[in-house]
């Protein structure tokens, strides 16, 4: 979903750039609370993993492919603030080194594929965690559902930006239907990759998954009760 230069007009690109700058600033402050000496070394690796996975376009419909966005995955693995820093780094390198996404559209891409997917992914994940049983086995499926929702949400936000500052005169209804339709399909791939990645780390080291920590704390309490009675 990398937006190139030219799709959105200059005022819209300046505005999305400003939003991205503020969001990264907020993330730099917030990430400090999420990162300690144990988890900090993993954050860079999560960003590298997302960069690599974004290279793997999978077919979704005739003549159309999609790839992982990764905001929900990053937020659940390392926390939403750190996750946004990881995503912004990926888009910066893709833009400058690979000309993937426009230079004037860097803010747009950080906003759509970083801020929106992190915010929507994390909100859906935390909502599921609040309503579902507090079990470790719920974390990876919840992460998958959060990832699924995050992709069409980003596509929908692109349509909103296009309505504000798109450079071609289009039927926005048709654009919305096409963008959200194909990105629901891409979201299914996003869900599978996110489920597998989160599930793999939970299988070996659940304490390294930021989104699993509340469930682990609950589990520790459950273990201590019979010990205290005996």
């Amino acid at each position: 979903m990398h937006v190139p230069d030219g799709f959105l007009d200059a005022p819209t690109s300046v505005a999305t750039g400003a939003v991205a700058a503020v969001a990264v600033g907020v993330a730099l402050r917030g990430a400090r609370r999420e990162l300690d000496d144990r988890t900090a070394p993993l954050a860079g690796l999560v960003a590298a993993f997302i960069f690599a996975t974004q290279m793997l376009n999978f077919p979704v419909a005739s003549g159309t492919s999609g790839h992982l966005l990764g905001g929900a995955l990053a937020a659940i693995l390392v926390g939403p603030y750190t996750g946004l820093l990881c995503m912004a780094t990926v888009f910066l390198v893709q833009c400058l080194l690979f000309a993937d996404g426009g230079i004037t559209a860097l803010g747009t891409n950080i906003d759509l594929m970083g801020v929106v997917t992190v915010l929507v992914g994390w909100t859906v994940f935390k909502t599921l965690q609040a309503v579902l049983p507090k079990r470790l086995s719920m974390v990876a499926p919840s992460a998958g559902i959060a990832a699924l929702v995050s992709v069409p949400a980003a596509a929908g936000c692109f349509v909103i930006l296009y309505a504000l500052g798109g450079t071609a005169d289009l039927s926005l209804g048709n654009l919305a239907a096409a963008m959200i339709g194909v990105h629901v399909l891409i979201g299914i791939g996003e869900a599978v990759i996110t489920f597998l990645a989160v599930g793999s780390i939970i299988a070996v080291r659940p304490d390294l998954v930021y989104g699993a920590r509340p469930v682990l704390e609950t589990r520790e309490l459950e273990v201590r009760i019979p010990g205290a009675v005996a």
């Binding site: 000496d37 793997l56 159309t64 990881c86 893709q94």
Partner: protein
């Protein structure tokens, strides 16, 4: 199975390098969702394309990209992480007074 943080880190790096360096050659070359929609809806020609300094995604440039992202993101997150002395400083006043009294 409980493994060390180093093993998890090494596993993540290995998977990232394998995906960028090997699996990427099997990636679909069809246009992605947005590009396809822009073609179907007649605004693909509004794109202002430019050349990649490294010649686009390939096995070698993909591995290079993984390492650059790792260095940048790792550097930023390492720099902003919470350190031991930060925790001390936040609760510093009480500790200082206790310390003085002991001495």
């Amino acid at each position: 199975m409980k493994v060390s943080t180093k093993v998890v880190a090494a596993g993540l790096l290995l998977v990232a390098l394998l995906m960028a360096g090997v699996v990427s050659r099997f990636a679909s070359s069809d246009p992605d969702g947005l590009t396809k929609v822009s073609e179907d809806h007649g605004f693909a020609d509004t794109e202002k394309a430019r050349d990649s300094p490294v010649g686009g995604y390939g096995a070698v440039t993909g591995v290079l990209g993984v390492l650059v992202v790792l260095g940048l993101a790792g550097g930023v997150t390492y720099a902003v992480r919470r350190r031991e002395y930060d925790d001390d400083r936040e609760h510093g006043h009480e500790h200082e007074h206790e310390h003085e009294r002991v001495e």
